[in-house]
Amino acid sequence: MKNRINQLFHDKKENILSVYFTAGYPQLDDTVTIIEQLVANGVDLIEIGMPFSDPVADGPVIQQSSLVALKNGMCIARLFEQLKGIREKVNIPLILMGYLNPVLQYGVEAFCQKCAEVGIDGLILPDLPLEEYHDSYREIFARHNLHNILLITPQTSEKRLHEIDEASHGFIYMVSSSSTTGVKSSVADFHLDYFERINQLKLQNPRLIGFGISNKETFDNACQYAQGAIIGSAFVKALGDNGSLDEKISKFVNQLVKGV
C-alpha cells in the first residue's frame, strides 16, 4: 500500500506547505474543522499535535496551546475518536506529532494500529531518537505503514545525516536553526551555509524545513533550499486570535502563500 507522504513528494517537488496545529486547541472539538479548512485552503500536509504536559522541544506558543488542549480534555483516545472517518473527507497526508510518554501509556502497538485504522501516514516523536527507534519501534511502525519522520539540525554530523537519511522513508524534518519551536523567526536566523551544505549531500529523502518559519518571507526563503517548509507556532498563534476558524485559517494561509 502506498503511503500518502510518498505520493505527495512524488507529485509535488517544490513549495510544499505543511502546517502544524495542536489538537484540542482552541476548542476540544476543532480538530476536524481545522483539518478541513487547511485542506480547503490548499495546504499539502498536516501535522496534528498530540498535547503533552512537558513539551521540552517546544517554545511558549505550543506549550500554551498544549496546556489549553489538555485542560479542554484532549487525550490520544479522544483524538482517535475525532479522526474516525477523516479519510472520507480529506486525502492529503496526515502526521501525528507528539512526545513519547503518552504513546507509551496508550501502548505502542495499539497506537500504531489505531493510526492505521483512521488513516495516519507518519509520526514525528521528537524524543524518540534514532537508536531507540531502531531497537524497539521500527518494525511496529513499518507493519502499520507509518513513516517515522526524523529531525536534523545545523549541528548534526555528516555521518549521522546519512544514518538518518538511511532510516527515513517519507521526508526529513530539517530544523532551521538549533532552537525550540517558535523562538527564532527571521531569515537572519537561518544558517544558509547549513541549508546549502545539506543540499549538496544528495540525500535520498526529500526535506521540509521547520522551526522559525512564520510568514511569506521565511517560507519562500526556506523553499529555495528544500521541497517545502513547515509552519507551527505562527499558525497556532493565529488560531488564538478572535474570529471564526474559517476566517482565521483562510487569512493565515493566504498571507503565507500570496503575502496578502
Binding site: D54, V56, L67, C75, L100, E132, Q155, V175, T180
Partner: protein, 393 residues
C-alpha cells in the same frame, strides 16, 4: 547481577537517552568523553583536592549516641550537611564544572527546586569564573527567596520558569530548552541522577564519595566496612545513589530509600514516585513517573522542595524492580516530627529532605546489634521558616 549502567545507558530496563535530535551532539559528546575525562589523572587530582580543601571532605560519620539509645540500635549519621553550601549537592557540581572546563564549555546552566543545587552550581561557577544561569520555578523563587539572593550574590542569573506548575519539573524543562537553543558553548549541570545517559551514571559517580567514605570510616570506628543498612531520602535520588553506590554489590547490606509522601499516598498531594508511579519517559530517561492514564505528568507535592519531583533516577527504578533496595515513604507530618527529634536529641537541625531518611527509623524493625547509617544530606537553615511556622517557636 550488575546494578551499574550498561553500555547503552540502561539499568536493566530503565534509563537510556530519549533526547530530541537538537540535544544529540552535546549528549553524544558527554557519552563519549565523560569516563575518559573523569578517570584522567588531572581530573582526579583537581576533584580530590577541591573536595578536601574547598568542600571540607571527608564529611564526618557521626555516632549518634542519644538517637541510638532511643531506638535501641546503632545509628550513624553521614554528615553531608557539613559540606560547603550545606548539602551533598556540591560533590556533583564540583565534578561537573571540572568536566565542563575539560570540554571547553564557557556557559553553565542548571535547574533547581529548593535552591540547594542552584547555590552549589552558582558557587562552583564563581570559583571557576564561568557564566551561570539557573532556572527555578517561579513559585520556588518566591518560596525560597534566601537561596535566590545567594545565587545572585554569587554572580548567577536566576530565571523564573513560568510554565506548568512553576516548580522543579518546569525548571528542568526550561533548562533543557535553553540547552537546545544554545547548543555549542553550554554545559547543563543536572543536579540529580536523572536525565539522559550519561547523567545518571556520571552524577552517581561524583556522589559515590559518600559511600566510599562511609566504608573506611566504619572500618576506622568499628573495624568493619559494611553496615547492616544504609538509609537515604530519594527525590531524583542523587544522595541515595551516592550513599548506596559502594554497597550495591554487597548484598548483605540493606539499602533503604525514603520517598516524600507529602500529605499521604492516598491523597493527590504527594511525590512518592516509586510507590505511585508507572514506567514512562520523562526528562529523557525511562523510569518510574507519576502520570495520568493518558501519560500526562502529574504535578507532585512535598513539604520539601528538593523532593518535589514526579520522576526518579533510573538506577533507583532498577534497584526497586530487582528488589535490591527497598523504598519506603514518609509524610510531611512524620518528617517534621523526625526533624524535631534529631534537633533535640543530637543538636543537629536537618534539612526537610534529610528528615525523610530519619523518619524511616520508626518504620523499620531495628535490632540492637544493627549498624544503621543514615545519610544526612543537608542542613536545615533553608527550612527554618517552615520549622518555625510549624512548631511555633
Amino acid at each position: 547481577m550488575s546494578y551499574q549502567v550498561n553500555r547503552k545507558g540502561y539499568y536493566g530496563e530503565f534509563g537510556g537517552a530519549f533526547i530530541p535530535e537538537m540535544m544529540h551532539p552535546n549528549i553524544e559528546e558527554l557519552q563519549e568523553k565523560y569516563m575518559e575525562v573523569i578517570n584522567s589523572y588531572n581530573f582526579r587530582q583537581d576533584f580530590i583536592a577541591l573536595l578536601k580543601h574547598y568542600v571540607g571532605r571527608p564529611s564526618p560519620l557521626y555516632y549518634a549516641r542519644r538517637m541510638s539509645e532511643k531506638y535501641q540500635s546503632h545509628i550513624f549519621l553521614k554528615r553531608e550537611d557539613l559540606n560547603h553550601t550545606g548539602s551533598h549537592k556540591i560533590n556533583n557540581t564540583i565534578g561537573q564544572i571540572l568536566l565542563a572546563k575539560a570540554l571547553g564549555k564557557t556557559r553553565i546552566i542548571a535547574e533547581t527546586g529548593a535552591g540547594q543545587h542552584g547555590v552549589a552550581t552558582a558557587t562552583v561557577c564563581a570559583l571557576m569564573d564561568m557564566k551561570c544561569i539557573v532556572y527555578m520555578g517561579a513559585l520556588d523563587v518566591q518560596r525560597q527567596a534566601p537561596n535566590v539572593k545567594k545565587m545572585r550574590m554569587l554572580g548567577a542569573e536566576v530565571i523564573a520558569a513560568e510554565s506548568g506548575n512553576k516548580t522543579l519539573k518546569d525548571a528542568t524543562n526550561e533548562a533543557m530548552r535553553d540547552w537546545i537553543n544554545n547548543p555549542e558553548d553550554t554545559h547543563y549541570i543536572i543536579g540529580s541522577v536523572v536525565g539522559p545517559h550519561p547523567y545518571p551514571d556520571m552524577v552517581a559517580r561524583f556522589q559515590s564519595v559518600i559511600s566510599e567514605e562511609i566504608k573506611w570510616q566504619l572500618d576506622e570506628q568499628l573495624g568493619r566496612e559494611l553496615p547492616t543498612r544504609v538509609i537515604a531520602c530519594v527525590g531524583g535520588g542523587s544522595n541515595a545513589a551516592g550513599a548506596f553506590y559502594h554497597f550495591l554489590d554487597s548484598e548483605a547490606v540493606e539499602l533503604i530509600g525514603v520517598e516524600a509522601a507529602g500529605k499521604g499516598i492516598e491523597t493527590k498531594e504527594t511525590a512518592a514516585t516509586l510507590t505511585l508511579g508507572k514506567p514512562g519517559v520523562l526528562h529523557s530517561s525511562r523510569s518510574f513517573v507519576m502520570q495520568t492514564n493518558d501519560g500526562q505528568i502529574i504535578e507532585p507535592y512535598s513539604i520539601s522542595a528538593g523532593l518535589d519531583y514526579p520522576g526518579i533516577g533510573p538506577m533507583h527504578a532498577n534497584l526497586h524492580a530487582t528488589k535490591r533496595a527497598k523504598y519506603l515513604w514518609a509524610t510531611d507530618d512524620e518528617v517534621l516530627e523526625a526533624a524535631l527529634e534529631l534537633t533535640q536529641l543530637e543538636g543537629i537541625i536537618p534539612a526537610l529532605e534529610s528528615a525523610h531518611a530519619l523518619a524511616a527509623l520508626k518504620k523499620l524493625s531495628l535490632k540492637p546489634e544493627d549498624v544503621n547509617v543514615i545519610s544526612l544530606s543537608g542542613r536545615g537553615d533553608k527550612d527554618m521558616e517552615t520549622y518555625l511556622n510549624h512548631f511555633g517557636y
